[in-house]
Symmetry: C2
């Protein structure tokens, strides 16, 4: 409900609220604003206030009106529109759509719980050992030496040694010379796609899957081929047909605690998938972002394969500090040089300070103990959140596991997302996890941020309105 | 001269020396090894030792032999060779060639001065204020908050505010909302080319110019169109013809203290260049990497243009700490959103710790005072180095300015580079600064690392051998 203020009229407040949402792309280009009557009811203002607010948005060029149909968010000015348009990428959203979700990861909609968030809330991640590790490193001769040069092209050798040992714990055997550090797992995935693919190349992805990956591949001009992801692994029949028809060079997979479903690859499915990769000559990039939350003996493709056709990608944003931006890849020896070249051309090196501090935290068992605590806390949160979700009428499409729940709400989640924004809650609608952004009744919930009964009450009220 | 050792025969030592050079790409694929007689003389061993060493390299698959012609470095295994080759990019080297130079930036050939180095020696950059700034930041609430989220998508807002003020000192007017931080200037240039260009697009670059930029554009599949760079600016006649024939979308330029020549754009040339950009509808990315070494009133395109068609790129690797990897871009408001999307898709955010520490150093005048000291020291080094270079028979193609000298040696500098490597000196041959890597008698010297008379004596001896 909007309240009169001394500095802004109700009209201005309402217009500003929608303008902000359009700028943050929480209302995507092409989306329809609520009807005047509906908007008036939701915000507790008169219809004439809504009409005036929509006129302000019109004047600002943020929306356009269509006769008898209402107001629609305008496409932003595209910097490349003056020449040719991008090559057609079937079933691929442009970066504009994905940015709604990406921005949602940063944008603080309100101080309320954010069920759509992709990471743990900051208070879960707060530790004393990380700042201490930075303090310990910053005075050292070794760090000073590293900082005043460009540093080691492959990344800090101490960290790569520690990571090599850590991977061995997952039965992934990679020497430090097969490991390259990156600016987070995102950068690692970017390096892999830029190195192994050329624009126009077909690449297989999981559906549902991670919108940022779809968007990056589309922005690089790749042809994105979605493969349905089931509880055991990818649909191998679909994959077989795609492999025969398009000869893709790469398959991108979150094999363990898949985002958004929480599925983990079964050993049998992993074996058959690797056989298919062998038969059709494609590589697999295994994104193990959720590794620290995974069951102890989860199957990794890279472990079975021995890093022959697989490239392993890991990171620490989901367990330590999203902003430290440390990720890494472990690759077959024959690919290391080409991947390193791509890293150097894109960022040169990566900062040694944080890499050395991270190596210290891993080496001294601090990360391991912290991850254990987080897993225990997450188990409790998941059980609480799942009960509340089911009581609110959600059906779990996948067994609750890991950080995310994948639930069927029974209503269009794009519409639901807009309603819940009015209450200060950001949710992640199912359309964001589909390469073609098909409307969906599914949504992804973060178990750590949906333990609050208050949210689920609001949720139920909004679901009833959307129905 | 090689010496017998207890663990390795002379043959093994000699083979290992060349193997290492091939692996580091200091000997590029296709390069011919010295003749047996020449190699024997240079290394002070018998011809039969050389023959045995070359046979070892042959057995290792690093070289191949051509009848009557000698031994040649083999092309490394290309990971993409199993499918189609990359689209032809006229006058563009692949990343393989550029990596020789890039790796030269990291690879410690010896403890001797490295005339080809692209940055200041570490002892020039050592300060107490940078570690102190990190220590000051690491305990703060603000940093903790930033680290446990992904952080601000555009980069630390404190740093962007400080950069905005700093740019105003160069008459470049950019609000903090036009500034995006990046993982060094390299990442900023990568973001610009990925955002404004599509694979196959023509893009104009300076020649001579920066090999990493050529290599990145080629790796992205762009058509690289070199424009000769003169003392006043680019050759506008050539640019006009290229603009008419190819309709390029972008021109990439180091306008102030151009690398490798040290040229700075004249105001008149800047004005005409901007008019041409306007007429032909292309953007200009102005790489101001050497800004901290520049004369006080140097002309920036972004200042004249008011960031309409220009995107300004800056960094701190050349003045503070190469490994901190902080760069930034300042862009026209209409391009900011698209550039930000590319940043997010490539690395998500950037680490706030170093950005906050850098902001502190700039705000408290520490960077400014440090840069003043470096400029004074560089002026003395330049004058000493230039005298020694001329005494050794070098002719300066461009008036000595900034960090680099661009000199004519009178001999093929690719061959000279191989000889000087035997003495432990890495030089930067002219071929690396040409898009087509044409052989050249020019080389780039770093004034900070060529003040040593001993190097120039070695240089003269080697020049005499190459002639």
């Amino acid at each position: 409900m909007l309240m009169k203020s001394a500095t802004q009229s109700l009209t201005e407040q309402l217009a500003e609220r929608y303008a902000e949402r359009i700028r943050q792309r929480l209302l995507a280009p092409g989306a329809r604003l609520p009807s005047v009557r509906e908007c008036a009811r939701v915000h507790g203002v008169s219809p004439s206030t809504v009409v005036a607010a929509y006129d302000l948005l019109l004047a600002q060029g943020l929306v356009h009106a269509r006769k008898q149909r209402g107001f629609f968010v305008r496409e932003p000015l595209a910097p490349r529109s003056d020449t040719h348009s991008r090559p057609p990428t079937p079933a691929s959203p442009g970066p504009i759509n994905a940015s709604a979700l990406i921005r949602g990861m940063f944008h603080r909609v309100s101080d309320k719980p954010q069920p759509g968030m992709g990471v743990f809330p900051p208070d879960w991640l707060e530790t004393a050992f990380m700042p201490a590790a930075v303090r310990r490193m910053v005075g050292t001769r070794a760090l000073n030496d590293a900082s005043l040069h460009y540093g080691e092209p492959m990344g800090d050798s101490g960290l790569r040694r520690v990571l090599s040992q850590k991977l061995a714990g997952h039965s992934v055997h990679a020497s430090p010379e097969q490991i390259i550090t990156t600016v987070g797992a995102t950068h690692a995935l970017d390096i892999v796609s830029r190195t192994l693919l050329r624009p126009g190349d077909p690449v297989m992805v999981e559906e549902p899957g991670w919108a940022v990956e779809f968007a990056r591949l589309a922005a690089l001009g790749m042809r994105v081929l979605p493969v349905p992801r089931g509880p055991e692994g990818p649909d191998l029949d679909v994959m077989q047909r795609l492999a025969e028809a398009h000869r893709p060079k790469l398959y991108v997979s979150v094999s363990v605690l898949h985002n958004p479903t929480g599925y983990s690859l079964s050993p049998g499915s992993a074996h058959r998938l690797l056989q298919m990769a062998q038969r059709h000559g494609f590589h697999i990039v295994e994104d193990d972002t959720y590794s620290h939350l995974a069951p102890e003996h989860a199957t990794r493709l890279s472990a079975l394969d021995g890093l022959q056709r697989t490239i392993y990608v890991g990171g620490f944003a989901k367990i330590l500090a999203p902003n430290w931006r440390i990720g890494f890849l472990a690759a077959p020896p024959a690919l290391v040089e080409a991947l390193l070249d791509t890293k150097l051309l894109s960022t040169l090196t990566t900062p040694a300070l944080l890499e050395k501090a991270l190596a210290h935290c891993i080496e001294h068992g601090q990360l391991r103990r912290h991850a254990e605590r987080i897993r225990v806390r997450l188990d409790a949160a998941r059980s609480r959140s799942a009960k509340l979700a089911m009581a609110a009428g959600c059906r779990f499409v996948a067994e609750p596991m890991g950080l995310f729940g994948w639930v069927d709400t029974g209503v269009d989640t794009d519409a639901l997302a807009q309603r819940l924004l009015d209450d200060g809650h950001l949710i992640a609608p199912g359309a964001l996890f589909h390469a073609a952004r098909a409307p969906s009744t599914l949504m992804r919930i973060n178990f750590a941020t949906t333990q609050d009964a208050g949210f689920w009450r609001t949720y139920s009220r909004r679901v009833a309105q959307v129905t």
